[in-house]
Amino acid sequence: MMKLVQIAIRNLARYGRRTLLTASLIAIGVIAVIVFGAGAGAFKGLIVGQMTDAMLGHLQIHRRGYVASMDNLPLTLTMRPPRVEAIEKTLRADPEVEAYSRRLKFSGMFSNYTQTTAIRLNGVYPEEELRTVPLLASRIRQGTAKLAPGEIIIPELLSTGMGVKIGDLIVVVATNRDGSVNAAQLTVSGVLESATGPGGRDGYVHMEDATSLLRMEEPEISEIAVRLKHFDKLESAAENIRRSLGVTGPSGPAGAARQAGAPGQPATSGQPGGPGQASPLEVHTWEALSPFHNVAVLIDVLVLSATLGLIAIVLISVMNVMLMSVYERVKEIGTIAAMGTMPGKILSMFVIEGLSLGMLGILIGNAIAAAVILLIDAIGPTFDFGRQTGLVMSPELDPGRMLAISAVVAIVAVLGTIQPAFKASRMEPVEALRHG
């Protein structure tokens, strides 16, 4: 085996310029895929982190049907205290749950006494909220994230648009579930930086103020945002919570639509967990709640396309070089066949040569890609995404991913060699010896 590898390497060295050109082509493909994949992964991770750690949480629990009408922030689909307590008990018992935050979401009017505009409000318990979405504090541009009763954190959009500053008194007007209107005077204690999407108009008030404003006798909850200990176990953790809460059926948008009671679906309710009975709750991961998930999928598709491009480059270049190699060495093939070399060994000689060529490209590609990623990390370029500015791009060296790409390239290099190698192994020695 070592001799076959040695012969392969010497044959590659024999056509040094051609080998170097082909290896360079493979290396460029490897660099493109690794660097693009790392960059795209970093971008995705950053934006997903912003979404989940500053707004959404990793997953959310709602009353069935809430997500389907989420844009209206319906107060008719809140969860009452007994239900909320049962959910809390489940979450506290789940080892994967790090924190959760109860939210009462509603829409209202925001007035600085001279101007009035619409606002989306989250009634929260500040400690719970900050434990669940820790990056929320980093979004506070002015003031503090420590929200006390009688205070409000407003989005930057309203602060700049209406000239409202920290310490100003404002009025929030909201309509409760029964249609009666109520108002509360609050002090602006913080200004939140802008965010992309509907969350860009979100303000925060204390749960006490929210229940009082909506004239609720006891706090009702629109959603419970959950933070997990391990984000990479999102799906399994969500599934565990669903199981514990007796939520059946798929997650995600399709599941959300079904769980919301899509037209034509039988209306089921009752106690959770019973066979054939739908739970009154729904559990969604961030993916089903954020439009960025589609961007994330698009990024994955782009990375996959780049990988397919790499496969095509490797396949065509290795096959081309190995075909040329076979045609140039017909007489040598005849000679070794005449000496009694078995067809399988002739085939393996060329396969090893193609694999060695692929490995050379892989080594060069991985080395340069790693250097490029480290360089990007050292420079730390920033970029803007929607209303978020100054996001720092920091791609990570992922040995597992590099290994996977290298394995794909190696396999494709072997596949690219099989046809020429098979051709070599099937040559009639007498004809090969007559060649050239």
Binding site: K331, I336, M339, G340
Partner: protein, 232 residues
């Protein structure tokens, strides 16, 4: 005792519906440990006959037995195994592998065909390089060797597996007279030492004179058998 027996051997090539009989009902017998030459003009069938004997090609009809093996019945793998076990080849253009040194070229069939152990490989390769007089060139690549040196290395490679038969197609055609004589005398000496049968084709009258038996071929037919010396 016969090593090679050919009976009514025929080889026909067909291309574009045109058939050419390269060997026509040829019969011959060659004893073990003999030193035999096929002679004749170009196109007389010398190389075709060597290819058939060496199981590089298959006869169209007739029977050809080499070392008790009916070579016409061998499939691709069987023919390769037969060649690796029984036959050594020496080619007109040496056909050394350019990426291997002289030593490695001779070692090749032991390592990649017969899978002989390292110590035994080394013993046999060095012994043969010594025997053909190129031991001092063993680390050189073929591109750095003269024609005579290359052909002697090719002879060593053909003999290293200790085959019963060595087939040499015009082994001196690309050599000057001195080197040609050296190669032929080397082959003959090794035949005397090892008892290997040597069969070669040639145009060279001086080389023909070294053969113990000369088969003359014309138009694919055996027209004359001459025996020299003890074989007469």
């Amino acid at each position: 005792m016969n090593l090679i027996v050919a009976e009514n051997l025929t080889k026909t090539y067909t291309a574009d519906s045109v058939s050419v009989e390269a060997i026509k009902s040829l019969s011959l017998r060659i004893d073990r440990a003999s030193f035999v030459s096929f002679v004749g003009p170009s196109g007389s069938g010398k190389t075709t006959l060597l290819n058939l004997i060496g199981a590089l090609d298959r006869p169209t009809s007739g029977r050809l037995t080499v070392a008790d093996t009916d070579v016409g019945m061998l499939d691709r793998r069987g023919a390769a195994a037969f060649r690796g076990r029984t036959v050594g080849f020496v080619f007109q253009e040496f056909n050394l592998l350019p990426v291997l040194t002289a030593y490695e070229n001779v070692e090749y069939p032991l390592l990649l065909v017969q899978h002989v152990a390292a110590a035994e490989r080394r013993r046999r390769v060095l012994s043969l390089l010594e025997a053909v007089g190129v031991a001092d060139q063993r680390d050189k690549y073929p591109a750095k060797l003269s024609g005579g040196q290359k052909q002697r290395i090719a002879v060593a490679r053909a003999l290293v597996t200790e085959p019963q038969l060595v087939l040499a197609d015009e082994p001196t055609a690309n050599l000057d007279h001195a080197n040609a004589s050296l190669v032929i005398s080397t082959m003959r000496r090794l035949r005397d030492t090892l008892g290997t049968t040597f069969v070669f084709s040639t145009h060279d009258a001086r080389v023909m004179a070294e053969a113990e038996i000369v088969f003359r071929l014309e138009d694919g037919q055996l027209v004359e058998r001459q025996a020299h010396g003890a074989a007469a």
